[in-house]
């Protein structure tokens, strides 16, 4: 069998823009158009444009089913609102992290990780004990991210919707550049901005209109490389790197995504885990020398292995190298000195609070 990576409807645009492509989650996606450093900076200082069409979208009509599969109490959400939540297995391990949208007709949309889309779909179907209650609409929709301090102004020039009324983690249905869209004030970069869901057939028109109108803002198309360095600075976990089915939400520092007073798959295991001392905890750390931590590197203390790096890279914004790692709770306090085993040398690092980077408040 030959497994071919899927192409998003914007594939030809990326090729035309000279992108270096890479396989990610079963999709062929732009890694970078110019350099990761320049694209990263554009998002922090101006605006960046992302193709996120690889993300999965699952539609669920039945509130009872949503309540059963996600870790948060969605009945507290009004239509037009969005929540970050987890899907967990019976043992309390994280199957995926998702955004839950309450649509105007009170149905739900789950935005899920690309590589987990089919697995999540099957798993939710199994929880529903029947077909039909959940539909996989991910391949019908494109998703374009517009992120950075100039993103809101840019999108506002292309829409009649009053974006000042769309708060963080809220959305409206409207049109951008005359393309019907779900305009969602969300992102994975640590900056303000929007994620725009539209039909596949309209996506090229939307993409080009944003690039054209954004020229005066210094817009740059940005690839998965910059997306990863941006999300790391913002302390956002990456599924598959920083957490997986063997990680429980408490270890991952995602307690705030749990509503343990309602029933959902994995709740009992998580309550049980909460009554015991945690074996490990996800922390942020900064390197005290110039070496670069990477996923899978060992964390050491006094010559002993005490944990594992889950993400690490340069922070272009901060000018030093950063990472996240699982360590014993006794070593999780900010200021704790750790070693990161970089090619056999214990490179010095220090635990720091997450996120590494917070965007400045608008004046």
């Amino acid at each position: 069998m030959v497994v071919t990576a899927a192409r998003t409807p914007l594939y030809e645009e990326h090729v035309r823009l000279g992108a270096q492509m890479t396989n990610f989650g079963g999709w062929v996606m732009p890694l970078q158009y110019s350099t990761i450093r320049e694209e990263h900076r554009a998002v922090r200082e101006a605006v960046g444009l992302f193709d996120l069409s690889h993300m999965g979208e699952l539609r669920i009509g039945d509130e009872t089913l949503v309540q059963r599969v996600v870790s948060r109490d969605v009945t507290r959400l009004r239509p037009g609102r969005i929540q970050y939540a987890l899907l967990c297995n019976d043992a309390g391990g994280i199957i995926d992290d998702v955004l839950v949208y309450v649509m105007p007709d009170s149905s739900y949309l789950l935005v899920v990780n690309a590589g987990n889309q089919d697995g999540d779909f099957e798993w939710i179907k199994a929880q529903a004990q029947g077909d039909g209650a959940v539909s996989n609409v991910g391949r019908d929709w494109a998703l374009v991210g517009v992120q950075g301090p100039r993103a809101v102004g840019l999108v506002q020039r292309l829409t009649r919707s009053e974006l000042g009324d769309v708060k963080y983690y809220a959305f409206v249905e409207g049109a951008v550049a005359n393309v019907p869209c779900v305009i969602s004030r969300t992102g994975y970069t640590g900056e303000d901005g929007f994620e725009l869901f539209c039909g596949n057939a309209d996506s090229v028109r939307l993409w080009r209109a944003l690039l054209e109108e954004g020229r005066s803002d210094g817009i740059r198309p940005a690839g998965l490389g910059a997306r990863d360095t941006l999300r790391l600075e913002a302390g956002m976990r990456l599924y598959g790197n920083d957490m997986d089915a063997d990680t429980n939400p408490l270890e991952a520092g995602l307690d705030w995504t749990l509503n343990l007073d309602k029933n959902f798959v994995g709740r009992d295991a998580i309550i049980q885990a909460r009554q015991q001392a945690l074996a490990r905890q996800l922390v942020g750390f900064k390197m005290l020398d110039r070496s670069i931590p990477r996923h899978g590197y060992r964390v050491v203390s006094d010559g002993e292995e005490v944990g594992t790096v889950t993400s690490g890279n340069v922070s272009f914004t901060l000018g030093y190298n950063i990472g996240m790692a699982y360590v014993p709770p006794a070593m999780a306090q900010p200021g704790t000195r750790l070693g990161v085993d970089v090619r056999g040398t214990a490179a010095p690092a220090e635990v720091v609070p997450l996120p590494f980077y917070k965007r400045p408040h608008p004046k």
């Binding site: 350099t35 990761i36 110039r290 990477r294 340069v314 090619r343």
Partner: protein
């Protein structure tokens, strides 16, 4: 490209320019384009002896850490100090200000490729 005159290449994508007893080593345009944004280099100390084809150091890009190999043998006389604060020079100018180390008492390596052979090798790799 005039700047490539006199350069020879290793299949591990380093270049070397030998002038008498001394040699300058860097990575190729193809290598830098494959690595992407270079952010750190771990380089040998001055005085260290390197073998032809032996490990020279490590180059790290945003994407990954990769080993560097010395195309020729010799004693390290200098590592490019500019790269400490400007590792991006390796991307911007791999045959010029992105040079990596200088060697002396060079022992030659007959396995090195000329530009034409290297280009053909790269062409073969990318298919």
């Amino acid at each position: 490209m005039a700047e490539l005159i006199g350069l020879r290449f290793a299949q591990t994508h380093e270049w070397v320019k030998t002038e008498g007893e001394t040699a300058t080593v860097g990575i190729t345009e193809y290598a830098q384009s494959q690595l992407g944004d270079v952010i750190y280099l771990e380089l040998p100390a001055v005085g260290q002896q390197l073998d032809a084809g032996g490990r020279l150091g490590v180059i790290e890009s945003v994407k990954a850490a990769s080993d560097l190999y010395s195309p020729v043998g010799g004693e390290v006389t200098e590592a490019n100090a500019e790269l400490k604060d400007h590792p991006e020079y390796v991307n911007q100018d791999p045959y010029g200000k992105g040079w990596i180390i200088k060697l002396r008492a060079v022992k030659d390596n007959p396995k090195l490729l000329d530009q034409k052979a290297y280009d053909a090798f790269v062409e073969g790799q990318s298919h």
